[in-house]
């Protein structure tokens, strides 16, 4: 795996190069290293992931891409269900498994999301959210190589996810690798518009993405109904 070693070296070099930058956000004590990894990811994205995703989107009809998206979304449902159960949301967890059952059969291995049409709504859960629900704090912000924004808590969740991901069971390895590549290409192609928006909206993309990540995770952990932020951060609301 010389390629993997090369990439690892590049990530480490990028992380080290960023270390000189001093941050001032208490949630991001490793800002220097994170910015380094962020720049590495950005380069990888600009020169590889985004062009590949663009070609993928241009070549394949949206109907076909929807089938690919549904297939991978279906594979995720059983563990979304596990996470709902771990958070005590039994009804939601049950729904996720019903979804998996219907979509894997009637939906032809998940390529058709028949469950949504039947009224079983898809959920969005992961191990990081479960830990958060259990009261585990986010910990320092962490930019993961290739995967992007995370925190120490969510990073641990990602590691657990990687071990429970059904795609790792695929054999032989070459088939597994192509499946992983297809999944990431699909994911990236779905985010092409969003990443363009980020570029346009942000003054400092690193900061914008980081803050959006913290806001998003907070909302996800509380299923879209987070409690009010502590008062000390409240802005002046009397505007005239």
């Amino acid at each position: 795996m010389t390629l993997a070693r090369l990439l690892l070296a590049a990530v480490l070099a990028a992380a080290a190069a960023g270390c000189a930058t001093a941050g001032n956000d208490s949630r991001d004590p490793w800002e220097g290293m994170n910015r380094g990894i962020y720049r590495f990811n950005d380069g990888f994205d600009e020169w590889f992931a985004r062009p590949v995703a663009g070609v993928y989107r241009d070549l394949l009809h949206s109907e076909i891409r929807a089938r690919v998206r549904n297939f991978f979304a279906n594979l995720a449902d059983p563990f979304i269900g596990v996470n709902n159960l771990l958070q005590g949301k039994f009804e939601d967890g049950f729904t996720d498994w019903v979804r998996f059952a219907f979509n894997s059969t009637l939906g032809l291995l998940g390529i058709h999301d028949v469950a949504t049409e039947m009224g079983y709504e898809k959920h969005d859960e992961d191990f990081g959210q479960t830990f958060g629900r259990w009261g585990v704090g986010a910990g320092p912000y962490l930019v993961l190589p290739f995967l992007g924004p995370s925190t120490v808590r969510d990073g641990v969740g990602t590691v657990v996810y990687l071990y429970t991901d059904p795609v790792i069971l695929i054999e032989p390895n070459s088939a597994r690798n192509w499946t992983v590549a297809l999944r990431f290409t699909q994911l990236r192609s779905d985010l092409l518009d969003a990443s363009r928006l980020l570029e346009e909206a942000a003054l400092d993309r690193y900061v914008f993405l980081r803050d959006a990540y913290f806001q998003r995770r907070r909302s996800q952990i509380y299923d879209g109904r987070p409690p009010r932020e502590p008062v000390n951060d409240e802005p002046e609301t009397t505007v005239k």
Binding site: N24, A73, T116, K122, E200, Q215, R216, S219, P235, E236
Partner: protein
Amino acid sequence: MRNLLAAVALACLAPAWPAAAQDITPPDVLVKNVTLEVVDLIAKDKEIKSGNRAKLIQLVEVKVLPHFNFASMAALAMGQGWNKATPEQKKQLTEEFRTLLVRTYASALAAYSEQKFEFRPLRAKPSDTDVTVQVRVLQPGSQPVPIDYSMEKTASQWKVYDVMVGGVSLVVNYRTEFSNVVRASGIDGLIRELQTKNKSLEAAGKK
């Protein structure tokens, strides 16, 4: 003297008239009408569909912009720093922030591809002056994306002062960025940076 009193009384009453319930479009109805109208206009317009960004921005300015309170948005994004700004700085900040948000909004609309909307019933008392209007964007195979419009009642109409997409508040998300720039180069530095950003986006849009 009696005329003067009458005039004062009228002047005091006048702002109260538009507040009568039947004159102000309720916030949830407003969001629904504007959303459906804009989406419909985009769907019908061949030039916008084929990527005419200038025309899309114009559409946003005419149809969407009047329903936003950009001074409130700029103030919320600035946080504590807003009170330290002079009236002229506030005006410029509002103006530049407005330009940036209109452009961002247009880009978000450009990415729209016939998803369906679900307009949720408004949970508010008739006396409320600050409400959240909830819309969900539905797409098969994914969890619905919630869009929450924070709206405040002004004398003549309801106005949006924040948009939350998937739990991410647009205004709050600018707060750290703004305060970083203000700390490093002051409020004028922030105005300059916003101007530069808007100019580069404008230049990129013309290509």
